[in-house]
């Protein structure tokens, strides 16, 4: 980010409890702050049940804020008069395993669901489907493919296209790579970075997978028990390996290797996220010779 800009999404002191006001009340979010600006890829990391999904559902108004406030483009979501459909169009949300939610027979019809619910004319629906399929790296001809005959990775990308066809400015994703093979993962992350790089867009993604986070995220929030435990640049956050491990969170494999070497007394930096960086550190141990 360069100059200070109005954030696309701003979350202040957000709190949420399920079954509020009953004896079964469960607090799932407490005093959460978050900011998403154009160009950001914000990662939300946390163990199962840490409130990640609940937080994401606040970002497009699926859950209205109980405590605190959420602003999208400066519009407060707690305002009862807010145009919630416009908000949901602005902030696109892709749920976990979205391929289970495809409901049409043919790929194109599923992508067209959003544009059609906006009441767009057929020509523009077609245009949007073409653009969205293109964004996720599927040829336009795939619109006539039977969904049942697509691969799992293709189905995931098709579901993503369904959200992109709404032409959101912020894309919110829950565990976008869960269950994909390494190839499918790389492709999807490539699609996401490519999409985000254009037109003042931003991404928020929740993930278990630290490699995903290091690969694409510009900023990371670590959510534990409904509160933000740590936040910062990925490099800063993953420095605190002990703290993260105490909460059962893995750190990137390269970072972890460096921590292990350091514990054994090797003079390496733990400020490492990627394998090539780790390789350079290890080369350093051997006096800079390539190994």
């Amino acid at each position: 980010m360069t100059a200070p800009v109005t954030p696309l999404i701003q979350v202040r002191a957000l709190g949420h409890a399920y079954l509020r006001g009953t004896p079964l009340e469960v607090r799932s979010l407490d005093d959460v702050d978050l900011e998403v600006c154009a160009g950001d890829v914000v990662g939300i990391v946390g163990p199962t049940g840490s409130g990640k999904s609940t937080l994401l559902q606040h970002l497009n108004g699926l859950l209205p804020p109980q405590d605190g406030e959420v602003w999208v483009n400066g519009v407060a979501l707690s305002d009862p008069a807010v145009d919630i459909r416009a908000i949901r169009q602005r902030v696109g949300l892709l749920f976990q395993s979205p391929e289970d939610q495809l409901f049409e027979r043919y790929a194109g019809d599923d992508v067209a669901f959003g544009p059609r619910s906006l009441g767009l004319p057929a020509e523009e629906v077609r245009d949007r489907v073409r653009k969205a399929l293109d964004d996720v790296g599927l040829p336009f001809a795939y619109k006539d493919r039977l969904i049942a005959e697509l691969s799992e990775g293709q189905k995931r990308r098709l579901a993503l296209a369904g959200v992109l066809a709404m032409e959101p400015q912020v894309l919110v994703l829950d565990e976008p790579t869960a269950g994909l093979d390494p190839q499918g993962r790389r492709e999807l992350l490539g699609v996401l970075s490519g999409w985000c790089a254009r037109d003042q867009r931003a991404i928020v993604l929740a993930s278990h997978n630290m490699e995903d986070v290091t690969a694409v995220c510009t900023y990371v929030h670590v959510l534990v028990g409904g509160t933000v435990l740590l936040h910062g640049l990925p490099r800063e956050v993953f420095q605190d390996a002990d703290l993260l491990e105490r909460y059962g969170l893995a750190i990137p494999a390269a970072t972890e290797t460096m921590h292990m070497l350091r514990e054994r007394g090797f003079p390496v930096s733990t400020n490492v996220l990627f394998t090539d960086e780790a390789a350079r550190e290890i080369e350093g141990l051997f006096g800079g010779r390539a190994i």
Partner: protein
């Protein structure tokens, strides 16, 4: 505006609404409780006697009190029905031609005509529904779903000898109870995903075409997800060599105590009495007795 309950389905699934007060009624053998409910329902349906139904009502209310279930909980089920209940009663009084023929007319205004028989029919209708609502509430507030499935299976066991797959049926009920929250969650997720893509689930919308059109995107994946989950469960059960009910032992064995039998005999006696009252035309007797004293 998205209310907090726009997508919340689980809260409205009321089967298995259990109120653990730990009363003696809660501890009765579930088989006995089931039998008692069946007896009560039969008596309510068969009986044509207001006196008998009043008797049943008194016993059910006593049961609710002794089970320490707040009466307002049980009555909550009656509230929303009241207008329709009255409408149905009025239909009985004025619109069923059979009650009009050959009976004494006690009130008439142009084509509206109430006879002694039609008024009795209306009163019976209200009494029946009230007893039924309170009785079944009593049962469901004091019995867990686990107890219920065990009760059903044990009661049906004698039928197993006749070839009725009682154990399997109990398993069906069990699986259904376990699937219910999973499917509700799945439905909620689908609704949210589609709302995120511009679908409008705001209630109060009464447009038939619009509602039907947005149903398919919701229902088709919901059916497919439940069938897919079922396939996974089938695989898991077959991998563990599930072979059906024959020769299976039970982790929980139900044992009826003397107090259970006392309760059952009591209710059976009551049911028989109510049916007998109806057959003996007790209402007419009570009516004459009352009018003789009062007038």
């Amino acid at each position: 505006m998205a209310g907090p309950s726009e997508f919340e389905l689980l809260g409205r699934v009321t089967i298995g609404q259990y109120l653990p007060t730990g009363s003696r009624l809660h501890h009765l053998d579930p088989r006995i409780k089931l039998l008692m409910v069946v007896l009560m329902i039969t008596a309510v349906i068969v009986s044509h006697s207001l006196v008998g139904l009043a008797l049943l009502l008194a016993v059910v209310v006593a049961g609710l009190l002794s089970a320490r279930i707040p009466l307002r909980f049980a009555l909550a089920g009656l509230g929303p029905m009241l207008p329709f209940l009255l409408l149905l009663a009025l239909l009985q009084v004025f619109a069923i031609p059979q009650y009009g023929a050959g009976a004494t007319v006690i009130w008439q205004w142009s084509i509206l005509k109430a006879t002694d028989r039609s008024v009795l029919a209306g009163a019976l209708l209200i009494a029946r529904f009230t007893v039924m609502v309170l009785g079944i509430s009593l049962f469901s507030f004091s019995t867990t779903t686990t107890e219920l499935t065990h009760g059903v299976e044990h009661l049906l066991r004698p039928l197993q000898a006749l070839g009725v797959p009682a154990h399997e049926f109990a398993l069906v009920v069990n699986i259904a109870i376990r699937f219910l929250p999973i499917l509700a969650e799945e439905a909620e997720r689908l609704m949210k995903a589609q709302a995120s893509r511009g679908a409008d689930f705001g209630r109060g919308q009464r447009n038939f075409i619009a509602r039907t059109r947005r149903l398919l995107p919701l229902l088709v994946p919901l059916f497919l997800v439940s069938l897919r989950r079922a396939e996974q469960l089938i695989e898991a059960m077959e991998a563990r060599s599930y072979l059906g009910g024959k020769g299976r032992t039970h982790l929980i064995s139900l044992r009826a105590r003397p107090s259970d039998y006392v309760a059952l005999v009591g209710v059976a006696g009551l049911a028989a009495l109510v049916v007998q009252l109806s057959a003996a035309n007790a209402d007419a007797f009570a009516w004459h007795w009352l009018t003789d004293r009062l007038l």
